[in-house]
Structure formats: structure tokens, C-alpha cells
Amino acid sequence: MNKRYATVISAYAPVQEISDEQRKALRQNFKPLAARRLTSLPLLIGELTKNTAPEPADEWLFASEFGGAVSLDKYLGSFPNPSPLHFQNSIHPGPLDLINVIRRLPARQLTPMIGGENLLGNALLAALISPADTVHLVIGEEYSAWASEQSLGSDFTFGAYLKLSQKAEHAMAELVHEPEGNAPTVSTQETAELLAHQKPLTTGLPSGGAIRLQWR
């Protein structure tokens, strides 16, 4: 379980909100009817994972503290007449479910993780101990005005994706568990920034030790 190889890495560095122009471009990944239902985070996930070619035996991990925050905000605002669409899209892991359902991508397992400062470390560890040959790790948040103002959501929109294989072929980076390592924790937001600029990262684990991602 100590090592995996990243054969695809893509990232979208944090911004408060994606621009209308970018949103329009991201919608091109989907048919108009499907794209209409997608908020910022699923649109980003769609872009980051579009060249990934997953297999049914693969596993997916989704690491997000707030998930479908825009749908949640809209659902809360729909009371006293709750919206079924915003309800189902607000449920964790709605943003990733939406994309994989649109693309009809059956998989062995999806493990959606939630967390604060230890979220990245926990998600990377989960990827390393998965028995699947290939694990797709998706990280991301979306800005939602009400939630952000109340410290109940992310202040930024960002995303990152790593296709993590047990095989070294075509590797762009190595992911290594260092049981004796020691490092501060890295947030998912910092991770998106680092990966967008192809920089290495090392994050500490709540169980002790660290996980290091080193570009080749």
C-alpha cells in the first residue's frame, strides 16, 4: 500500500467563482440539457476527468468538505416548498454522482470523504489502501455566497483530479506513504493550487506519518 503512480493529473486553481465565459466553455463537455443542471463544481469535475477512460473495476474517491454547496443553498431557499432537484443534487457526493451518471461510468466503488484539515491526507491514504488497480481521486469545492458568508461553505471554487495506478507505466508523479514522515497538513485548496502549477506536496496524517506526491 505504500506507493501509487499518478498517470493523469489535472487541476483548476482556486478562484472565487468561475467566469461566465469559462462556465460556457465547461458546458461544452455535456449536452445542453445535462449541462443546464450542473453548477460550478460538477462542471469542473467534468472538465478535469474528461480524458480519464475509467474501467468498471476502478474505484473513485471524492474529497470535499462542502460538496454541492450551490444546490444546498438553493434547496434551503426552496422551503417551504422543497425542490426535489436541489435536494438530490445537494446530497453528498452529488457533484461527482452527476458527472458519472451523465457519462454512465459504472465503478467498483465510490468512497466520498468529508473533512477539514485532514481531508487530503485521509483521502490519499484511502487511495493507497484501496485494493483496486486504479483509483480516481477527485478533490473540489464550489463557492456559494450564503454558505461562504456564514462560514458554512468554501470561499473558493477549485478542483483537482489524480488517476492513481499501481503500475508505474506513463507515470507523471509518485504518491508515497512515509510512515516515519512528519509534515504539516496541506488543505485541498492548497492542493489544487500546487497541482495546477505542477509543484510537489507533502501532507501529514492524523495517524502519524506523511504522504508525499513527487512529480517525475
Binding site: 434547496y75 435536494f87 452527476l98 466503488q109 468529508i114 484511502a126 492524523p206 502519524g208
Partner: protein
């Protein structure tokens, strides 16, 4: 797809609208129904079946906090959250009741327990948990994914023991949501009954399990999962998802006599697909669901039903499909309670939004 495990169940308990683990098992075995017709929203003219442990009201402190603490105080005393004793917390609701309350203008205190992280922190602070905690949430397979994650931590020698805890208490947020989807109506659910229309019910509940590699009376002999990603709220009509999650468990059972605790919420299409797949994978195995009494306890159902199943083995008798009546959609559906003298194990499966499925084979050692 199979993930054979060498992981043992050391403690497992639950709280439901019917009481603690033993009280819940006894009431289910006696055919008691915890569901009551309840207003889904404050101004609603409708009534929907809910199995509640208190009033359906968003309040401060949240109504999930005290029962969660009380339940967890029954767990073995360990340095939970230290490097060798990780905790896996699962739910599909966490503190979402507090989020709705705060959004609707209630006290600022609600804001501090409104997210998954802050709700978990509220429990952790009261119990003195350390930081080695992970949170998993995938709707109604959350608890079983938590068990699978715990198995992997143990299999990779990253833990001596793992505490898996799950809690889901209803609020107007989730009841209103299911009601808006038109699958929560004024009809009480009859899982696996062959009816004109289907319906589901919801319930409060929490459960925990302590897993380790040290032998005990129960072993989680295999785990399995599959995500269809066919539709957000429906299953692939071919039944491929149910077949995929059951196949590795059938292989692990190796023809030994088992019973099946299905997902069985009360919807018709899923009932037909699940019962047919269970019949094919485990010919002759009785299939039961307890959601016609307890309601669907959402992300926590996997742990709650595991605790009830283990208690059923201890008592030698399993509850039948409470609340349902013949004719059933399949001949393997077991209506009445039955004795467990000759059974090797039980298959426990759950399903969720996105076509997610997860399952375990629990065997008696």
C-alpha cells in the same frame, strides 16, 4: 470485485425508534411497527410514515447529540482517535437539521453544528476523541462504506482496532426532500410486497461497530460494493448493480446456508430487482427487510441492521419482513420471524442514490 477480509466484529450496537439493540430485535421479532403517520412539514396537510425517537423539530442542542453520546459510551473504552485506534464516522445527514434551522433564522448556535465536520467535532469533544478520524458519506451506503474503509485500515496494519460510528436523525430538511421526490407518501411501506404502488418510510437511528483482526464470535468474512452510475435516483433496469454486489458475497459464502437482509425500502422496481438477484445468488436463502417497521435510517442503516443481525444470531431468531404482506414479488421473501439454528451467516446489503450498492457477509465463528 471480491475483497475477502479477516476482520472480526467485537462490539456492535444501535439505537432506533424501537429502543436499544435488544429491544429493537425483540420488537421486530414480535412484528411491531415503529412508524407513525406524521406531518412532513409544519404546514403540510399530508401525513407520512416516520419512525422517530422524538419530535420532528430542529432544535438546540440538536436531538442527535445526546443519543449519539449515550450510544458511544457503551463502546469499549479505548483511546479512540489515537494513531492505532482510528474512528470512521458516517452519516447522510450529520447536522443538516442545524443548517436548516440556522437558514430559517434560528439561533447562531445552530450554525456551529451545521456541517459534517462541525457536527462530528461536537461529538468528538464530548467523548475526548483524538484527531485520527475520517468521515465518509455516500447517502444510504455510507455506513457500509465506513466498514469497508475500516477493514482496509486493519488489513494494512494501520490500526489495532477501528470504531465505526453512524448517526442519522430526521429533520424537515430530509423528510421534505424525500416527500418532494414523491416516494414518501401517506402509504406505509411494505417491502417486497407485490402492490400497485410503492412507498418508503424514514426513521431515526444510530449504530457503532468495533472491528479488529483479533478473533471474536463474528467475522466480516467478505465485503463488496458497486456503483452503477446509471441514474441519480433509479437503478439500472437490468439489475446489474444488485447482481454485482451480491456475486462476491455468494462466492465467499461458498454454498453455506445464509439468510439475506436486503435493502428493501418499499419501492417496487428496486424490490423486484433486489429479490431476483438475491434469489439467483443465494438460492433458497430467506430475504428480509426491516424498513417496514424502522423506516429507512438512511446512511446509518448498514450499521443499525448489522447490530440487529448480530443480535438475531445471539438470540437464535431473525425478524421477518415486518409490515409487509403476501403476495411478495419473489418466493424468497420471508414474512415471519425464523430460527437461525442452521444458518452459517447473513448477507447484509444496502443501496443508495447514484445506484451505489454495498454489502457484507457476516458469519458466526
Amino acid at each position: 470485485m471480491s475483497a475477502p477480509t479477516d476482520v472480526f466484529l467485537h462490539a456492535c450496537a444501535c439505537r432506533t425508534a424501537l429502543g436499544d439493540t435488544h429491544e429493537t430485535w425483540q420488537a421486530l421479532t414480535d412484528g411491531q411497527i415503529a412508524l407513525r403517520a406524521t406531518q412532513p412539514l409544519p404546514d403540510s396537510d399530508d401525513r407520512v410514515p416516520l419512525a422517530l425517537t422524538g419530535d420532528l423539530a430542529e432544535c438546540e442542542p440538536p436531538r442527535w447529540l445526546a443519543p449519539s453520546i449515550a450510544l458511544l459510551q457503551a463502546a469499549p473504552d479505548r483511546p479512540w482517535g489515537d494513531p492505532r485506534h482510528p474512528i470512521v464516522i458516517t452519516s447522510s445527514n450529520f447536522g443538516i437539521d442545524q443548517m436548516l434551522a440556522f437558514h430559517q433564522g434560528q439561533t447562531d448556535a445552530c450554525r456551529h453544528r451545521a456541517t459534517a465536520v462541525s457536527a462530528t467535532q461536537a461529538i468528538a469533544e464530548q467523548l475526548g476523541w483524538g484527531p485520527n478520524r475520517s468521515i465518509i458519506s455516500n447517502a444510504c451506503v455510507s455506513a457500509q462504506l465506513g466498514l469497508i474503509h475500516a477493514e482496509r485500515l486493519l488489513a494494512n496494519d494501520l490500526a489495532d482496532e477501528v470504531l465505526v460510528f453512524s448517526f442519522d436523525y430526521l429533520s424537515h430538511f430530509v423528510v421534505g426532500g424525500f416527500h418532494s421526490l414523491k416516494i414518501l407518501n401517506n402509504d406505509f411501506p411494505q417491502p417486497y410486497s407485490d402492490r400497485e404502488t410503492g412507498s418508503i418510510a424514514l426513521g431515526d437511528g444510530a449504530g457503532f461497530a468495533v472491528l479488529s483482526r483479533a478473533p471474536s464470535g463474528f467475522r466480516l468474512a467478505a465485503s463488496s460494493s458497486h456503483s452503477e452510475f446509471h441514474h441519480m435516483t433509479g437503478n439500472d433496469p437490468s439489475g446489474v448493480g444488485f447482481k454485482a454486489v451480491l456475486a462476491p458475497l455468494a462466492e465467499a459464502a461458498n454454498g453455506q446456508r445464509v439468510w439475506v437482509k436486503g435493502h428493501g425500502t418499499g419501492t417496487l422496481e428496486a424490490a423486484r430487482l433486489e429479490s431476483a438477484a438475491a434469489h439467483a445468488a443465494f438460492p433458497g436463502a430467506p430475504l428480509v427487510s426491516w424498513k417496514g417497521s424502522l423506516g429507512h435510517t438512511l446512511g446509518s442503516c448498514g450499521l443499525i441492521e448489522l447490530a440487529i443481525a448480530a443480535e438475531a444470531f445471539r438470540q437464535g431468531r431473525a425478524p421477518g419482513t415486518v409490515g409487509a404482506a403476501a403476495p411478495y414479488v419473489s418466493q424468497n421473501v420471508q414474512g415471519d420471524a425464523f430460527t437461525l439454528d442452521d444458518f452459517y451467516g447473513v448477507v447484509l446489503v444496502s443501496s443508495a442514490f447514484g445506484g451505489a450498492h454495498a454489502g457484507h457477509l457476516l458469519i458466526r465463528e
